[in-house]
């Protein structure tokens, strides 16, 4: 196995190389941004609500591969759900999609986009 195979799953590498949800939502209902104080990773998430449901989610980030892959997955998982369902997304949900055994020291990279999404959805009330 190559060095990167040990550290990053295929899903992380694929999502990092070719993100599907990168960008800003035009006419966003709410936007939130946060940084990871440990590493300086920065992620912004914009959402558009259509009644109770999450119509669109996009992210922009200046962050590591794990964090950006997580943001892409978070956006995908949130779209089409109700606001409350999306706000209840858990770390395990994202890890399942990433198919990655993320170390404790990098777990904040996974959770940052989840927190930013929750903040954005909170603001959309």
């Amino acid at each position: 196995m190559t060095a990167s195979g040990v550290v990053y799953s295929d899903v992380i590498r694929e999502r990092w190389r070719r993100p599907r949800f990168r960008g800003d939502v035009p006419g966003a209902t709410a936007v939130a941004e946060d940084v990871n104080p440990l590493c300086g990773d920065r992620v912004r998430v914009s959402v558009r609500l259509d009644g109770p449901s999450v119509a669109a989610v996009r992210f922009v980030g200046d962050a590591c591969a794990i964090c950006l892959a997580s943001a892409d997955v978070v956006a995908e998982l949130a779209e089409g759900r109700t606001r409350d369902e999306a706000a209840a997304l858990k770390t395990e949900d994202v890890l399942t999609v990433l198919q990655a055994d993320v170390r404790p020291t990098r777990m904040r990279c996974v959770t940052l986009p989840i927190g930013v999404l929750a903040t954005a959805l909170g603001r959309a009330r």
């Binding site: 060095a3 590498r13 300086g40 200046d62 590591c64 990279c109």
Partner: protein
């Protein structure tokens, strides 16, 4: 014999295998590894001599006190201070700087000015911000030049009658720049300001002489100089220490106590409340003896060679940017770099997969990261036990990174 060949057998941790490869430890600027001599001295102390210091009238108490105070004498010699009263033990560099900022902070008035620099570690920024905030004083920063040096002319322009403190790193923990601290100390003195030097990165790498440096304060940690965590050094020029009020109270720092008042102890104990890090002081003594046996000139030369090799080879790689002064210049044993298209944390994780330990992120220097226009960097740093082959292993791993992700 090369220095790494000589020292390597003394560092048991370097035998570890990480991810199937023998550990290449290139993170000594964050914390160095410890030789057996240090570890064994601390074990011996706990097994034979431990008791509380200074007030125990029994054999162990006397031994512990003697060992603790011996460390002070060793530090005094090692950094060329005039007297042992000028050596205060703290918990680390951050604690030392914080102690100075607290004590000096109490003497500040509104609109007084504290000058720091753009390349400071957060531990030489935040305590000054706090001191300034409490007294209505102002913090200003000396900018860096594009090649990673302090803009000393800008410092000259910042100095004025309101300047009370000039706080500067001896060696940048990111750029490796060796700042002209002697000149800066004199500039500070010319306007009647105190000079405070963060020596965390310098003490393991260069010979120090407080008497010729003439700074008012110098802060350092044992754990970056082959010693244990949990003990720091604060050198304070005697006449300055004498006129500062202690800001931390408790046992040890007093002579006599009444319900409503107390008389402070003599220097240096006045600034050391509570039970000090005794075993750590014993470890620090062993670390100093180890370094002195190698010879600081030889240590510096070895690390200069490694740094030069890393700078030259990394800079030659396509898509790799190296920060700080060039290889021709004397600089600290750190090399910060970035790899195009890769986040520094990914660089560190991929290198770790090959058993190579480097630091990545903002290195507790966010204002500097902003000045450099980057979110963070990866940083390799070197110590006595690192070999040229390890530098080559780093360079070849970095070369393979861009295709790895």
């Amino acid at each position: 014999m090369r220095l790494d060949e000589l020292t390597r057998p003394d560092f048991p941790i370097l035998e570890r295998v990480i991810n199937g490869r023998r550990l290449v430890y290139l993170d000594s600027a964050a914390s160095s590894q410890k030789p057996r001599q240090v570890i064994e001295a601390m074990v011996r102390y706990y097994e034979r001599s431990h008791a509380n210091v200074h007030r125990s009238i029994h054999t162990l108490g006397e031994e512990a006190t003697e060992l603790y105070e011996l460390a002070r004498d060793r530090v005094r010699e090692f950094i060329g201070a005039q007297s042992r009263e000028e050596i205060v033990f703290t918990r680390g560099t951050t604690d030392s700087l914080s102690l100075v900022a607290d004590a000096v902070g109490h003497t500040l008035e509104a609109d007084d000015e504290i000058i720091i620099t753009e390349l400071e570690h957060h531990s030489n920024i935040i305590p000054w911000q706090m001191a300034a905030r409490d007294r209505g004083a102002v913090v200003r920063a000396v900018p860096i030049t594009p090649d990673g040096h302090l803009d000393v002319d800008a410092l000259r322009r910042l100095l004025g009658p309101r300047t009370r403190v000039v706080a500067v790193a001896h060696i940048s923990n990111v750029l490796g720049t060796i700042n002209p601290v002697r000149e800066i100390v004199q500039l500070a003195r010319s306007v009647g300001a105190l000079s405070v030097v963060d020596g965390a990165q310098a003490i393991p790498h260069v010979s120090l002489d407080m008497m010729s440096l003439e700074c008012d304060f110098y802060a350092a940690s044992a754990h970056k100089m082959l010693g244990p965590t949990g003990i720091g050094i604060l050198y304070g020029r005697r006449e300055v220490l004498e006129r500062l009020e202690p800001t931390r109270g408790g046992s040890e720092m007093i002579k006599e106590v009444w319900i409503d008042r107390a008389q402070w102890n003599d220097l240096p104990w006045r600034f050391e409340p509570g039970t000090p890090p005794i075993a750590e002081a014993v470890g620090l003594t062993a670390a100093i003896e180890y370094l002195e046996k190698l010879g600081m000139e030889r240590v510096a030369e070895h690390e200069r060679e490694l740094t030069r090799r890393a700078l030259t080879s990394l800079a030659a790689l396509e898509g790799v940017r190296v920060f700080g002064p060039g290889p021709a210049e004397d600089r600290g044993a750190v090399v910060a770099f970035s790899v195009e298209g890769l986040h520094p944390h990914d660089v560190a994780a991929l290198l770790d997969a090959e058993g190579i330990a480097v630091r990545a992120g903002h290195h507790c220097a966010q204002p500097l990261m902003r000045a450099l226009g980057v979110v963070g960097t990866s940083r390799a740093s070197f110590s006595v036990y690192n070999s040229p082959e390890e530098i080559d292993a780093l360079v070849s791993a970095v070369e393979g990174l861009r295709s790895a992700l």
